[in-house]
């Protein structure tokens, strides 16, 4: 039983982690918090459903197309809304307000397009369960965990060991200096937003077969993902996944061995204590004024 609870904690934790990665990337690139992240997950889930179930494309192709669409959505969001506002030098919180309105739009247009019904996602793999250490685990759950870790690794390699990744980090640190080195900082920022959206959408398409497809899927996950990002150390790639998995485990474990009624309260309570005691996150990132 314990092992199964841990696996479930890992699954939901990895999803939090993927969302948290998006938050972290955006924070690094633009110093912002994007409210719409959770709804991009929902969008990804619905898009994946459309390609896989309605159009009958193979799962891997649906995944790639969905991620690509989300990528361009993220880039567009940055290019036409976020950067426009930042160029006007407005208070950060107004940019956050813009993401709030994007959230309203996304959530309601998903409903307008796909309708309010819950949709079912057919199984992706021919076999239902995988047995590990004598415990049955849904194949898609295992796939979700593996994919999250692969994505995290890829991102880590991409950010630290490729020219473009270096460019992205450089432009986040100092746009002027990056420009002087021949890097187009606004393009790099756009790509960061694109990657963040693609990650969220991928999380959505991974979740579809496990949880089904419905409009509010991304709401709570989005908020928890934000919490995970901060727990891990806001702006830190590995920290985001670690924070996500930790939050997922705390949640499932406290529900299983403490109280399911107060599960969220326990998770948020720990988060508060964590913030007050160690505001720099697990992987130190600057959070205090001094």
């Amino acid at each position: 039983m314990l092992f199964q609870v841990i696996v479930s904690g890992f699954v939901i934790g990895c999803v939090y982690g993927l969302i948290a990665l998006g938050y972290s990337l955006i924070y690094k690139a633009s110093g912002l918090m994007n409210f719409a992240q959770g709804d991009v997950l929902t969008l990804g889930c619905f898009l994946g459903y459309t390609f896989y179930t309605l159009l009958g494309l193979p799962y891997w192709l649906s995944l790639i197309i969905t991620a690509a669409i989300a990528f361009f959505f993220g880039m567009g969001e940055e290019r036409f809304i976020i950067r426009k506002l930042q160029n006007k030098n407005v208070l950060t919180v107004y940019v956050v307000l813009a993401t709030i309105s994007i959230q309203y739009i996304l959530q309601n247009s998903i409903q307008a397009i796909w309708g309010p019904n819950m949709l079912s996602y057919p199984r992706v793999f021919p076999w239902n369960n995988v047995t590990i250490f004598g415990v049955n685990i849904q194949t898609e759950s295992v796939f979700c965990i593996i994919m999250s870790f692969i994505l995290m690794m890829l991102l880590q390699v991409f950010m630290n060991h490729t020219k473009f990744g270096t460019a992205m980090r450089a432009s986040a640190l100092d746009a002027k200096a990056a420009k002087a080195c021949g890097i187009n900082p606004s393009f790099a920022t756009g790509v960061t937003w694109g990657i963040a959206a693609a990650l969220a959408a991928t999380a959505g398409i991974l979740l579809g077969p496990i949880y089904g497809v419905f409009i509010m899927l991304g709401q709570t996950i989005g908020r928890k993902g934000f919490a995970a990002a901060i727990m891990g150390g806001y702006g830190n790639v590995i920290g985001a996944i670690v924070g996500g998995v930790l939050l997922g485990l705390i949640e499932t474990m406290s529900a299983a061995y403490w109280s399911s009624t107060y599960k969220d309260m326990i998770a948020y309570g720990l988060l508060l204590i964590f913030l007050y005691v160690k505001p720099t996150g697990i992987f130190n990132e600057k959070a205090l004024n001094r």
Binding site: V5, S120, Q219, A255, A256, D264
Partner: protein, 394 residues
């Protein structure tokens, strides 16, 4: 330039809203206006939208047949978002719009917060939720033409006693209807000598219940009573089966056909007491009266109602029409009084009878169960391989 245009359009919008303010009640003698406050966006958009559609189906049928007492039926609907705060403003607005009757909402906290307003303005109202709480407030103008969970749960507990079940675990949401279901069920189970081993709650919006499921299974329960609504049903069904729980499950009200599709084989062995079922295709439906409704619904919207809230709202419309015709007038107080005299009204849920004096139309229900991913009645199920497998445990 763009800014100016936007400013102008904002100003126009404001003026439009001011003009809305000026519009008073538009009472006219040749229409019968029905207000439909339902959650049309957010978590409960599906039941709300289905209910609204069903009201439209009924209204069309009535109007095609000459209206109610010769008056054309007109519908005004607003999105109450299932929120107690929004629903107060929606209710007051419907009152100002001069509606003759209300069908909604299917969210009980919305009914609880709006009920007093309808009561004060003496508008006959049909709630479309299944929670017992709002009927307990004693509002004279509030009726129900669908299931009251408190009436159906004794059937469930009787069935459990009959099967010899001794230990039941409860999994529940934290909305009003779900909690009310838990309370009633616990009380009935205690009376019947059935032990409730554990009661596990989840928070709205969560999708992972492995912790709760682990506790339920560790509590060594034979049956799980699931008190939830909407997209959570298939999730909990799947996670229970995933963790190796193979016993019988009872849901507090219907386990909808979309849940059945999402959860697939995990749905087998889930039972519930309810007046009717939802269908994935018209052909699955054997009841001629429901079939007729489904065909009309399909014709108007190109899809079948996934949520049974459509049935609830449609039945409410049928009862409302019967009441107006019995009263012989559309005058609100007379209509409300007439509802209490109705009996033998043919609806999707069978015959409705309001003469019990509790303002409720339904008092008898069937127990359905899912086997082979199909709905069958419990009586039909007895003796099947899955029945024997599950019941032999008890």
């Amino acid at each position: 330039m763009k800014r100016k245009m936007l400013l102008v359009s904002l100003a126009i919008l404001l003026i439009a809203s001011v003009s809305l303010f000026a519009n008073g009640s538009s009472e006219s003698s040749d229409t019968y206006v029905i207000g439909v406050p339902q959650p049309l966006t957010g978590t409960n958009a599906q039941p709300g939208a289905c209910a609204l559609n069903a009201v439209k189906v009924a209204a069309k049928q009535f109007n095609d047949a000459g209206g109610i007492l010769g008056k054309t039926v007109e519908i005004i609907s607003y999105d109450d978002q299932g929120s107690p705060e929004e629903s107060v403003r929606v209710a007051q607005r419907l009152v100002s719009d001069g509606v003759d009757a209300i069908i909604g909402s299917c969210i009980s906290s919305a009914v609880l917060s709006a009920g007093q307003i309808y009561e004060n303005n003496q508008i006959p109202t049909f709630g479309t939720g299944t929670s017992p709480t709002w009927m307990a407030q004693g509002w004279e103008y509030l009726f129900r033409a669908c299931q009251n969970n408190d009436f159906a749960l004794p059937l469930v507990v009787d069935k459990l006693t009959e099967l010899g079940v001794e230990r039941v675990a409860i999994f529940a949401g934290q909305d009003d209807a779900a909690v009310a279901g838990v309370n009633t069920f616990t009380e009935l189970a205690n009376q019947a000598g059935i032990t409730v081993t554990t009661t596990e709650y989840y928070v709205e919006g969560n999708t992972d219940f492995s912790g709760q499921v682990a506790r339920i299974i560790n509590s060594n329960a034979q049956v799980v009573f699931i008190s939830t609504f909407g997209p959570t049903q298939p999730l909990i069904a799947r996670q229970l089966r995933q963790f190796g729980f193979n016993g019988l499950c009872f849901t507090k009200d219907i386990y909808q056909v979309d849940a059945l599709q999402v959860a697939g084989a995990a749905s087998n062995g889930i039972a519930f007491a309810y007046p009717y079922l939802t269908y994935a295709s018209i052909d699955d439906c054997k009841d001629p009266f429901i079939k007729q409704f489904l065909e009309a619904y399909y014709e108007m919207f190109g899809e079948l109602p996934v949520s049974d809230c459509a049935y609830r709202a449609y039945d409410s419309m049928l009862v409302l029409k019967a009441a107006v015709e019995a009263a012989g007038t559309t005058e609100k107080t007379a209509v409300a009084e007439a509802v209490n005299t109705l009996s033998g009204v043919q609806t999707l849920a069978g015959m409705q009878d309001f003469t019990y004096g509790d303002r409720e139309g339904l008092h008898s229900f069937n127990i359905f169960v899912i086997d082979n991913e199909q709905y069958i009645t419990f009586d039909e199920w007895v003796g099947s391989p899955l029945y024997n497998e599950i019941v032999s445990q008890y």
